[in-house]
Symmetry: D2
Subunit: 380 residues, 4 copies
């Protein structure tokens, strides 16, 4: 099962960490810590192996992958010796990266993306390709009538005015090229009726949105804990301090709003009500790739007694996200092979803001994932 | 289903909070926050209602229940207005409390306890009585040959030397009186082969041990989170600062050891390995009934990247424990009625160190509890 | 030395806590915890005693002081028994409270305030009166040419358009009545050239701004610690979660901006540079009168090694502010008596954003305060 | 002013960080972050410059300095590029390190240490040498009569039984060699009457004990904050989690006791009373050279209102200690040159458990240090 993984934002921290890790796993240099598809409960599924994966991608920046990997090593995200050992492999991936096309009309841009995808698939004789969006978060797009129907969308894309945000254009182009699509960001991606129509027509699966890597992951187990104990959460407030490229981008209020909404959804879903409080994001360049989140939860117990819990999460977003990117690529490829199409609602385990109406608690999401994995066949 | 709840340690903080709360629930003065048997998933079971419960108990101290309730109100554990409104009801419960018997031999002491239980059951025409141990934690007992067989135990109890710790003597007496038994503490309780033999012979169920109210509750959701994400927990260290009577008692190293072992078990069970670190308990009288626990968790992610999480839990142990005491009394009574006997291993949801080999993760324990509850009949 | 203390915002939490505490201290019911003027180093100054103080004040709300005190007792800010014991005394203070005047022109309003102050002073035969602003924080005012000269200001006040924010109008009226003025809030108060001119003309002292009660107090000792150890603070970010009236008011972005600026000033002053990061304020009604602030400080040590510190402050703002209000009233009265006029720059110990260019570190501010206190005479 | 710095424990983390840093400063490769003698207030003193310092030392282990520096770079304590750039310089220092002598009697061992010191001084034509103990913490020694008089000590040292702990023997040998002595650890060092007698006789200064690098540093500013605000600290509890060599050593209860006592002294000194609570140390190998300390402080404010503060300190002990080692060597050398002898009580700024009865608050200690520095002459 030769599988291509095409990364939108291929020169960013998450992508380069995922690339380096996949190469290291293929070379047997590291253990698959953080890869949930390597847990016993999921290992039975017929997923592409590390040696079956081929990587390529688009980016708007030009920094060579090896340089990016070295800077991640300096920042403590990647082990320096690993980067040194994989320099040649990374240089080979460099050959598969392309500048993100940009043409006069979005139809032309999409065609250029599609051409890159087809070329990638043919040159490597890949059975299928999964496109994964790990580019920085976009502002929420303006509503547009063409978002509601594929026919209207095709017409509009040929106009001079952009009609889709970049993430949705990438999903459109992926589907046109016969590729499955994963949106690891809170951006729009495939979440438009016109694109759902296209995926259905093309028989392609897609997954998303917004990888659940830190504070929200913790929320997805703590909120059910309060619910199962019948404790009343009276407020839940948080502050996320993060540097790095995504941090700077999220300082933009429009992008921030998308992310913040995505982060609070889990509380309402898991508790059945939305407690007071918000989750803020603030850019602190000095903090770099390691993010610090602090949450204060106040709650009432028996007879109304007020109590409280705080937590601080100090995690490296790239190190948390990268193995999930690989997991999602493998699972989505297997789903494609197994004939699944449309939204993969069983993958809520991975996302802050999952497609569909699945459970919000992490353990329930895990149970769903285990069943999903089992349904993909065990021929390996 | 008239049900007696007999509390060992009936004048302590947990017992008086449970008593006050049950009276308030019966009077419709409060919502059942913190009572898991009032969640929709468990509400269907045929459990005794608040009006079906009659309370009595033993204690070695003599402080009137109303005085204790008032001091808990001063400490912020109980609402003062609730205590004032329930003074008459609490005074009625006062009539059902007895000094804990103490005679020349443990056989005589047990007989006196049994007589108190039978008298309580008869005077109130109760269908059954559940004995709940909420007394302070004991040191681990010396091993004794008579712990291994009921016949040997009966003989040894008639000797001049004590052979059972107080919690186990209470379980013995409860079983002799035909009562189910719940050990809410880390003490021995019914956990001796001779007592298992007696419970089997008498057809009685029992539950335990050590109510899961704070730091360990959090561990039971966080440890599975790390496991499900294939993250490697490299150390987990904690400090519990607590005042109150239990705090002073736990400053005794022997009692402390029992509690600490109970608190760490969840990590090994949920992770499949035991990370470095210990969980310490320290008595700080000034902190009173509110306990502060701090935990530091270090973990490794993809490619070995080191990350960390801290949490602080500031909870009122009595307010967290009391509703669970009521839940356990109701569930154990229903199990008794349904003909269940021996260890109720399905109640791991409530305990730090549960009987049997059930799952360690809170959500899996919840699923087990829901099934158990459903099996108890839905005739209400 | 009969001294009046006139509180602007006399029915708010800080004022009522200060009132209740002063009455309790006069009655000998409590120790003067939190009152720095009762420390040995300051006790020598010739300050008015607790029995020398008479209280009055203005407010726009009408909630009786006793009711407010009872609600503070319910919230855990005041001991209920103390409020009960002082009900008569609080009712006597109630007689001295007046609705904040509001007339057609600000000149008329000021005259009404002045009349209230003179009436208060005469009825009680007070040697002097200190006006203390503890009203909620105002937005920063629009600049106005009349702020720059007393003559222009007097003219403008007679116009139909308001020219001064409420806090500055209070300072104006206080000076007109011959009273010293303390601004315990971040509002404008006496900080306008026209008001400085008036204070100089009238020979009156004034103090401010913004009582230093929580997070900023901690900053004022931690920032010097980093500086004295030659450690480089690379970022300092904070989040303040607070309920209560002031919390709701500070959710207003304009008021928030004034407060946030005030909170960050200490870092630049103490470190000699301003590290990255901001200090945010968020209203969480559920948290009530107890405020939780969390700060993350990252810093570089020898050879650039990155390190970090976090702190959480869980304080009751009213309980922290009230004794300082009493301290400031006593010290300002003594300064007035000693012939001091203009800005009392030696009182930086008490303020987030002190008048003048004094030191930012708490210990240096303390040394200044001790000298100031000594200079006020020791005739008591 | 050619000055030797002789490190006892020269191959440990603190020593190698200090060595590397001093070489980097001499080469102009880094800024002197963390060196307080480079702050403007102290820069005027006539201290030896970076180029005036020559390093040597003793250790019981044999790991080459360059290897140790490389392992510190891997652990994130030292920048890898700096270690690479200084390899030759470190190799030169390697030539000056000697195995710690150990002979049949302590008198012979001391003579061998003294000989090494004299040889070092002569070969490099040093004006003077400061011996600094940065070896791991010792258990508190058994009392011995010979500790009380120099004559008795000299006799006892010639016996077969050891009479001095290693740190005190090092101080003895240093004084015999005419060298000043700094004890950066909580070990005995020069703190014995017999050694005070020797230092006086030889006209030599000494300093100590126990470098103040983390939790205690924070305590030394927070405790005065509570005192200056007249807030009553009701409990102060802490847990220090640390890996590395010193962590393992401190897991030994005897060494731990010495350290813990040293860590709590500051509270009693700064507050005037000792609040409830203890400061614990626990070894967690996984945490390595970065230490995490958590403290919970409960305190009472106005009218007894209970409040609380927590802090977490995540610091690299070696990076915090190393610049202070250099500062102390420079200051002690200058004191020696200026004719100071006996305990340098003015250096309390640097120590957890300072010699003499100086102030406990950091700012007061700073003021003392500035005066001391000024008294050492400004001829540079």
């Amino acid at each position: 099962m030769r599988t291509g993984v095409w990364l939108i934002g291929a020169r960013g921290s998450v992508a380069v960490t995922a690339l380096t890790g996949a190469l290291a796993l293929r070379a047997g240099l590291v253990a698959p810590t953080g890869c949930v598809t390597e847990l016993p409960e999921l290992r039975g599924a017929d997923l592409p192996g590390w040696a079956d994966l081929e990587f390529g991608g688009h980016d708007v920046v030009a920094l060579p992958v090896v340089k990016k990997a070295e800077s991640l090593a300096d920042a403590g995200v990647l082990p320096g010796r690993l980067v040194a050992a994989l320099t040649d492999d990374l240089a080979r991936v460099e050959q598969e990266l392309r500048p993100l096309p940009s043409a006069d009309t979005q139809a032309q841009t999409a065609a250029a993306i599609t051409a890159d995808l087809r070329d990638f698939q043919q040159r490597h004789a890949l059975d299928r390709v999964v496109v994964v969006d790990v580019a920085t978060t976009e502002p929420a797009p303006e509503p547009h009538a063409a978002h509601w129907s594929l026919a209207a969308l095709r017409t509009a894309l040929r106009g001079a005015q952009p009609v889709l945000p970049a993430s949705a254009l990438a999903a459109y182009a992926a589907f046109e090229a016969g590729c499955a699509f994963v949106d690891f960001t809170p951006s729009t991606g495939a979440r438009l009726p016109a694109l759902a129509e296209l995926a259905a027509e093309a028989g392609l699966p897609y997954a998303g949105n917004d990888g659940k890597t830190g504070e929200t992951l913790v929320k997805s187990v703590l909120a059910p804990m309060f619910a199962l104990r019948h404790l009343q959460v009276t407020s839940w407030s948080g502050l996320n301090l993060l540097g790095g490229g995504d941090g700077a981008n999220l300082a933009d209020p429009a992008a921030n709003a998308a992310k913040v909404a995505s982060k609070q959804r889990v509380l309402g879903d898991a508790l059945g009500y939305t407690p007071e409080g918000t989750s803020r994001i603030e850019h602190v360049a000095e903090i770099g790739d390691f993010k610090t989140a602090w949450d204060l939860i106040t709650f009432a117990g028996f007879l109304g007694t007020g109590m409280r819990m705080e937590f601080t999460w100090h995690g490296c977003d790239s190190a948390l996200a990268a193995p999930l990117v690989l997991d999602l690529a493998r699972l989505t490829a297997a789903a494609h092979r197994a004939g699944r199409h449309g939204p993969l609602t069983e993958l809520g385990f991975f996302f802050k803001d999952p497609l569909g109406d699945g459970p919000a608690g992490l353990t329930a999401q895990w149970d769903t994932l285990v069943s999903f994995s089992a349904s993909l066949g065990r021929t390996r």
